[in-house]
Structures are given as structure tokens and as C-alpha cells.
Subunit: 212 residues, 2 copies
DNA sequence: CCGCATCCGGGGCGATACTG
DNA sequence: CAGTATCGCCCCGGATGCGG
């Protein structure tokens, strides 16, 4: 991108990661770890393939991304963040915390969705209401890939992949599931909106809205 | 800007503030407070005037910015951030903290500079090495408007405006001044690069590089 | 199938000029 | 002082092609 030409920390940062799609590519790599080109594409619905290739080159040139050739029989290229790229987590956290407010409005018509995108709302909007209780786990099935949420010791973490014997499994549309988790709607209302629940519903009480 | 069309907190945030120049306008309003159109322009060297007008309209429509008509005899329009706009401080902090690394490389040829842009490097890169000592103040004269830096109680703050009887005044080019404050170069080297110092040089010892 | 390159239309952006 | 008007250009989006 064209430089702002300003000797300022914020402007210098935007010189590097201010291009369209760039931070969303970093988001995918932070959420999913080392990824193939095709997987990045599926995690970035709407991106043009030439733009993705361009951005990957720019990120590599800037030292934020490394490209490793996986050995046969995998025979695939893996893109991963360098330590410098990982340091963008703080920026993405701040952006996600600020943008999560717009999630409460629900998805716009035609909005795409991937299960792992719930990671920020879950970690940012919720807290563990019983820090001294036994750790509990939830599996969220909102798309292709499930998200595993764990609450314990006052902390809430979210990461991709199915859980081994989660205490409760929620499946359905992301918006009502997010509403249920955040307490904006109750279980009955969530069910009416197509959310299905398997397991121990009492586990949901462990998740409480975090103080703003 | 065109929406990313993704039901994701980060993407929704970028839908609102991802446009070119937008975050730099927020930077100016955070650093300088309510500002006139002309002052914003001078704080954003390189921006086209139609773009500034466009962005101000977008920010107003998004509820991040308010426009107040100052009464006569001032007879001027003031642009200020709404509370929602102020909440972007966390995003700018994260961006500045990440981008400050590029400041160590020095300004690119032709880079513009404004004194208040040093606020982030100073607050992020430095700490008060003697929290129990008397508060001290420094005035940095690097451009048109001076920056006032205060160290006391372990905290370092930076804000625009000249100080009343600062303990030390530094004037010169921003890069060597930044190097002097961060300890990358010594006082002798800084003087050789044109930095002039008035007052008590011992005060500089209060500022130490913050742990990375 | 994976990881792109190429082509082309539209719009955001940049610079300058101008105005109430 | 606070913008509007205009005009190129280049970035972006969408489609298609293509070698490994």
C-alpha cells in the first residue's frame, strides 16, 4: 500500500497492515494456525484469489508470514505467522473487542460465517461465573467446523476442533447461540430459533456476561 | 467502505474504521481533542481535502464523531469524538505499540512529523525509573507545537501544550530526541545530531526504556 | 485439487482547482 | 474556514485460465 509518509507509530503500523483483507488474513492464521492457501480462502469468504496471493506475498516481505513447503506425501504449502506476525494478536483483540458490539445487531443479510469467528465474542463477552467450580466444556456447532469452549478457574478459552465428551453441545445458527451464551435470550427462545442442545443445560449458567 | 460481509467481530470493526485515513483521523482527535477542520488537515499531512470531508461524514454517520457549531464570535465548527469513538483508544494503543518498532528505523525520506505523534512512543517505550521521586516534567520541541511529558509515581504521561516551568526542555529533530529518551543514543551523540537541551539534564535519568 | 497469473470493469483514492 | 468539483490513476472485485 502507499505509505502515509508520516513518522508516527500508528501510521507506520497502518503502512504495513492497513491494506484491505490483510488483518483478516492475520485473523485466520491466528485462529487456525498454519494453513494452506485453500483453507485460507475458505476462511475468507469474499476475497479474490489474486488478492489473497498478493497479500500473502506482502506479508511475507514484511516479515510477518513464513511459507513452509510441507514434505511429501502432504506436498502442500503451509502459511504461518512469524513471531512478529503473532504480535498482532493485541491489535486483533482490540479490534474484536470494539467490533463485538456490532455482533449484537445480528448478521446482515448475506453475511458469511465460520464457527471459529465466535472465538472473540466468547472470550471477550463472557466470563466464568464460578471460578472455583469444576472445569466445564461446551461444543458449538454453528457451521462446518465446531468450536470448543472451556470454562474453568475463572478463565474462558475458545479453540477450534471438537471436544472429547463435552458437557454440552449446542448446534444451530450463530446469532441465537451467541444470544443464548451472552444471556440476551433464554433457552426457550433459543430453541424456538432453532438451537438444539445436547447434554447438561445447567452448564450454561457457568457463562455470564463479562462486565463492560 | 464496502462491507466484508462476514459475521465476525473483527470484520465488523473493519467495516466501520477500515477505510484509508479513518484511524488516523481518530488518532488526531484522540491526541488533540475537539478540533477544527483546518487543524485536522494540518495534523494529517498528505490527506486530500475531499477525503477528509468524506471520512468526517462517515464517522459522523457511524456515531463515532460529533460536529458542534461553536457560537460566535468563534464561529467555527468543532469535530469531536463521541464516547463510542473514544473507545477506539484501545485499538490505537495496540496499533501504536505494534508500530513503534518501525520508529526505531528512523523516518523515511520525506516523512512528515508533528510533535504530538511522539505521545505513543513516549508513553509506550518509556517508564518512570524512580516511582518514589518527585514528579518531573519535560518539554519536547520538535515541530510547531511542543509536547509536555510528565513522569511521576511510576507513570508517564504525554500531552500537547507547553509546560509551566518544565525541568528540562529538549529541542531538535524528532528521531535523535526519541533516541535520547529511549537511551539508544547518549547526550553527546544527541547534541551532535542537533539536539539542544535547556535545564536539568539529570532529569533524563528518570526515563528508562520499558520492558518489551 | 492446489496455488496461483491474467484480464478487465468499476470505484476508491490522490492532487489540484475552485468557492460561499 | 470548511468544504465542493473535477479528473486520472491505481487498487480492488469477479471471472477465467493454467501449470504442477
Amino acid at each position: 500500500m502507499r505509505s502515509y509518509g508520516q513518522f508516527c507509530a500508528v501510521a507506520k503500523a497502518l503502512d504495513v497492515i492497513g491494506d484491505r483483507w490483510t488483518l483478516l488474513i492475520v485473523r485466520e492464521l491466528l485462529l487456525a494456525g498454519p494453513s494452506r492457501y485453500t483453507d485460507l480462502r475458505s476462511g475468507l469468504p469474499g476475497i479474490a484469489t489474486n488478492l489473497l496471493a498478493d497479500r500473502l506475498r506482502q506479508l511475507e516481505a514484511a516479515g510477518l508470514l513464513a511459507r513452509e513447503e510441507a514434505p511429501p506425501p502432504v506436498a502442500s504449502t503451509l502459511f504461518s505467522l512469524t513471531p512478529r506476525g503473532e504480535q498482532l494478536r493485541g491489535v486483533l483483540d482490540a479490534l474484536g473487542a470494539w467490533g463485538v458490539e456490532y455482533m449484537a445487531e445480528g448478521p446482515a443479510p448475506g453475511d458469511a460465517f465460520r464457527g471459529r469467528w465466535l472465538a472473540w465474542p466468547v472470550e471477550r463477552f463472557l466470563r466464568d461465573s464460578q471460578p472455583d467450580g469444576q472445569p466445564v466444556s461446551l461444543e458449538l456447532q454453528t457451521g462446518e467446523a465446531p468450536l470448543l469452549v472451556e470454562a474453568g478457574g475463572g478463565e474462558i478459552t475458545a479453540r477450534p476442533g471438537p471436544g472429547t465428551e463435552p458437557d454440552v453441545v449446542l448446534s444451530g445458527e450463530p446469532y441465537p447461540i451467541l444470544g443464548l451464551l451472552s444471556g440476551r435470550i433464554g433457552l426457550a427462545e433459543a430453541r424456538r430459533r432453532g438451537v438444539r442442545l445436547q447434554g447438561d443445560a445447567a452448564v450454561l449458567a457457568r457463562l455470564a456476561p463479562a462486565a463492560a
